[in-house]
């Protein structure tokens, strides 16, 4: 998938619906109040950070360690915003709004657009779909969590990884993209048993470094991708 079609936006909204339900139910289950759950969803703006916080608390860790591990998990959004920031041209305020709204699906799809204005359009359309799904999901989780029961029985926890797979689908058809993804996932899996939560995902960025070093042509890997002629002389 590179340029999303109308039905794709529906699926993206559904994915974040599933994420919203999962996070809300996890918060409510632990006795966190409804206003706090919705407030956290609004201002933290990172489902995985919330889940990381809860995981640390469940394991008996302090709130400070919980916050730290939430930051660490969100470091991938810094990397994604970086990737977006390299191509996103707009007034400062719009760039700030785009940075705050950087998630995996919208950045992953936007940076695959060849054209700058198309990049902006895809980014904000995907963002809108994600937000609609996320807010409906958060509200449903908060108020109807008991009715839905365990989302895993419906396979809801498979929805987010499947969507992410589709989002990088076009990238992994390229040799450099495939290398980045396979090495990144491999590093992440190797580190999971030994490194604290969040660090394995941050380290998966090294997959992109390996791919660039492998597929960059020219002496000492200094020149960029594409035809290399002038600096050979």
């Amino acid at each position: 998938m590179t340029a999303p079609r109308p039905a794709d936006y529906l699926a993206l909204a559904f994915t974040y619906f599933a994420v919203g339900v999962t996070v809300s139910v996890a918060m409510i289950e632990r006795g966190i109040s409804i206003p706090t759950t919705l407030g956290a969803a609004l201002v933290i703006y990172s489902a995985t950070s919330e889940l990381a916080f809860l995981a640390v608390r469940d394991a008996g860790g302090s709130a400070a360690i919980g916050v730290l591990s939430g930051w660490l998990v969100a470091s991938r959004f810094g990397l994604l915003a970086l990737s977006l920031g390299a191509r996103y041209q707009a007034p400062t305020l719009e760039r700030a709004a785009a940075a705050i709204n950087s998630f995996d699906p919208n950045v992953g799809l936007a940076v695959q657009q060849a054209d700058r204005s198309e990049l902006r359009r895809v980014f904000w359309r995907v963002t809108a779909a994600l937000m609609i799904g996320w807010w409906i999901g958060s509200l449903v989780g908060v108020f109807l969590g008991d009715v839905i029961g365990d989302g895993r029985a419906w396979g809801l926890d498979a929805v987010f990884p499947a969507t992410l797979m589709a989002i990088i689908g076009a990238l992994v058809r390229r040799r450099d993209g495939l290398t980045a993804a396979v090495v990144g996932a491999g590093i992440c899996c190797l580190l999971i048993p030994v490194a604290p939560g969040g660090l394995p995902i941050l380290a998966s960025a090294l997959g992109a470094v390996v791919a660039v070093l492998t597929f960059t042509r020219g002496p000492a890997g200094r020149s960029g991708p594409g035809p290399v002629t002038e600096d050979r002389a």
Partner: protein
């Protein structure tokens, strides 16, 4: 989850996004090799997130019904199925494995 934890978390998460957009992103854009890196970062990082979501429970590597869902998703993506189909097939496969297990 106390309010100070929520405020601290929000500041750290937003701060990292803003640093990426306004400082690191433009630095990357000025150098061709680095901008290639920027193009490939989502593939690497998102693959890491997929691995984390699929193969981990309680901070341990595990192989369970989610792996089947991911495999189904991968095949669907390879066959260029629409996202709706990918998502439904992955969820259905995962739910089915859990039902049978």
């Amino acid at each position: 989850m106390s309010w100070w934890a929520i405020v601290a978390m929000s500041a750290g998460v937003a701060g990292q996004r803003l640093v990426g957009m306004f400082w690191a992103g433009p630095v990357l854009a000025r150098r061709p090799t680095l901008s290639h890196l920027g193009d490939l970062l989502p593939a690497a990082v998102i693959a890491g997130v997929i691995a984390q979501l699929t193969f981990v429970s309680d901070a341990r590597l595990t192989l369970d019904a989610r792996a089947v869902g991911l495999l189904v998703a991968a095949v669907m993506v390879w066959r260029k199925a629409p996202l709706t189909v990918v998502v439904i097939a992955a969820a259905a496969a995962t739910a089915l494995v859990r039902l049978l297990a």
